[in-house]
């Protein structure tokens, strides 16, 4: 490491890039595995383990790393280490926020947004190539779900028609295998594409700091650490996002899941083949929606989907705002100290978001629970609209309230009965009722 100009700054940037890689894996597990988890083709833990392993393999599969970041979107002369750091921080914060709300959103768009924001803060709006941003990021975000919905709708309809008189048991058994195969492909593609983005960023940072020569290839430790960071993120499992994708949009069967994942894999790989990269997240979400559209009698919760589309539209501006703020703080404090403050701030924000998430944890144990209408009132609206039955909303709401009241009353009665029984037992056995009570609490 001779001739490194700012070793501490470099270390901070590398750590942040790896952190972004982690959130990337963490946030995007659902794209590949949500359907397999929802249809019970794989147990939740098995699914994330498989996905993490394939991410790891994918990261080593191809090493054509382009040492560029947001090429054609921002003026590459402005991209300094501080800009990269602020951009990464913006991407991480947006990834964590969307994860908190269980919204699948594109990690690469978050990164682009963060960098765009930092560039605007550094050099003004002229530093951004707006037509590039529109053509490469904003329009594909609109186009990707449409294409995926079309492909998955046709695929699901065909599959449904062909196998309609096959026994459900046989369908489930065989389509689960198909589903695992296509989901694995999505994981592999994700590992290859996205881990390489982080490798590219770290390489760029190393070159900028003079730690490696400009024509250097990616050092092995960079490949290894990026692959591991992403695999670890994937294994941790963004259960909140998985839950929304697998249970929130459509109630999936194995046949739908298989058609959706195949459509995702096909569209993702073809789009990169034809040089028109579409975001994995947008494609995967579109495919799942399509699998609902293509199934007779299935209802799609368009309310939940609408919230996602809204989040995709604001991904770039929001991440840009955070990126710009971080860059501003960095410059305001100045020098390496500024970058340290940004790094510290990032850790603090992440901790707050994590703490928030614990108030309503989603884990491998409750990821497949039924989508709770009380929590997601708009799903009723969506259902009543898609099925053209406005009465669903009203009736079910009323029923919901009644059911809640009944449940509360039942709980109260049960509790009272148990207390009475405990008191009686205590009297009979001449034991203190308090101890019995605490035992009972322990049981529950």
């Amino acid at each position: 490491m001779v001739g490194v100009t700012e070793p501490l700054l470099l270390a901070v940037v590398v750590a942040t890039a790896l952190a972004f890689d982690f959130t990337n894996g963490f946030h995007d597990t659902g794209n590949a595995m949500a359907t397999s988890i929802a249809t019970r083709a794989l147990k939740p833990k098995q699914a994330v383990l498989l996905s993490a392993s394939l991410n790891l393999v994918g990261a080593f599969l191809s090493l054509t790393v382009a040492a560029t970041i947001a090429t054609g979107i921002v003026d590459s002369d402005i991209v300094t280490l501080e800009v990269v750091l602020a951009g990464l921080a913006g991407g991480i914060v947006w990834n964590l926020l969307t994860w908190l709300f269980g919204i699948p959103s594109s990690s690469s768009h978050a990164l682009v947004g963060g960098v765009v924001g930092a560039v605007i803060a550094a050099a003004g709006v002229s530093g951004v190539l707006w037509s590039g941003l529109t053509a490469k990021v904003l329009i594909p975000a609109l186009v990707a779900p449409v294409i995926a919905i079309l492909v998955a709708t046709v695929g699901t309809a065909l599959v449904g028609r062909i196998t309609q008189d096959v026994p459900d048991k046989d369908n489930d058994r065989m389509f689960r295998w198909g589903q695992i195969g296509s989901a694995s492909l999505v994981s592999l593609a994700h590992g290859t594409n996205d881990a390489q983005k982080s490798m590219g960023i770290i390489l760029l940072a190393l070159i900028a700091a003079g730690a490696v020569p400009a024509d250097s290839s990616v050092p092995f430790w960079v490949i290894l650490s990026c692959a591991l960071a992403m695999a670890l993120g994937t294994y941790t499992g963004g259960w909140r996002v998985i839950r929304t994708l697998g249970k929130g949009l459509v109630e999936l069967s194995s046949r739908q899941g298989m058609a959706a994942e195949t459509s995702s894999a096909a569209v993702i790989l073809l789009s990169s083949h034809f040089g028109y990269s579409l975001s994995t997240t947008h494609v995967a979400t579109g495919s799942i929606l399509g699998s609902g559209v293509g199934t007779k009698g299935a209802s799609v919760r368009w309310g939940v989907a609408g919230r996602m589309f809204a989040a995709w539209m604001i991904t770039v501006p929001s991440a840009a705002a955070v990126g710009a703020a971080f860059y501003g703080i960095d410059v305001l404090i100045g020098g390496t100290a500024g970058s340290f403050v940004v790094f510290g701030l990032l850790i603090a924000i992440s901790a707050v978001i994590y703490g928030w998430s614990r108030r309503q944890p989603v884990s491998s144990s409750n990821v497949n629970d039924d989508w709770d209408p009380a929590q997601q009132s708009e799903s009723y609206v969506a259902e009543s609209v898609t099925m053209h039955r406005p009465e669903i909303m009203r009736v079910k709401r009323k029923e919901l309230k009644r059911a809640k009241r009944r449940a509360k009353a039942a709980r109260g009665a049960e509790e009272a009965a148990r207390r009475r029984a405990a008191a009686r037992v205590a009297e009979l056995k001449d034991e203190p009722a308090v101890r019995r009570g605490s035992e009972r609490d322990g049981e529950r």
Binding site: A135, I162, D170, G178, L185, L188, A189, V267, L269, F274
Partner: protein, 78 residues
């Protein structure tokens, strides 16, 4: 508009996507129907050789597609 949208690439993605992304699941479904559909099992529960061959041709094409996709990824075509 054409400045912002690459219509050619988009059309390619859509058409080939439909062919592969919808065609492969359909082919897989044909395979499933061949070995598990109505009339596939004889009275003793066995499946005729013809149906087995048809099913495995369908599954084989699906497996080939996966292998091809992995090769595409490994070749750096992403």
């Amino acid at each position: 508009m054409s400045e912002y949208v690459e219509w050619g690439a988009l059309l390619n993605v859509l058409l080939v996507g439909l062919l592969v992304g919808a065609g492969l699941p359909a082919l897989f479904a044909v395979g499933v129907r061949a070995i598990a559909g109505p009339g596939a099992r004889a009275e003793d529960g066995s499946v005729s050789a013809g149906r087995r061959v048809l099913a495995w041709i369908c599954f084989g094409i699906a497996i080939l597609a996966i292998v091809g996709a992995i090769a595409f990824l490994a070749a750096g075509g992403h």
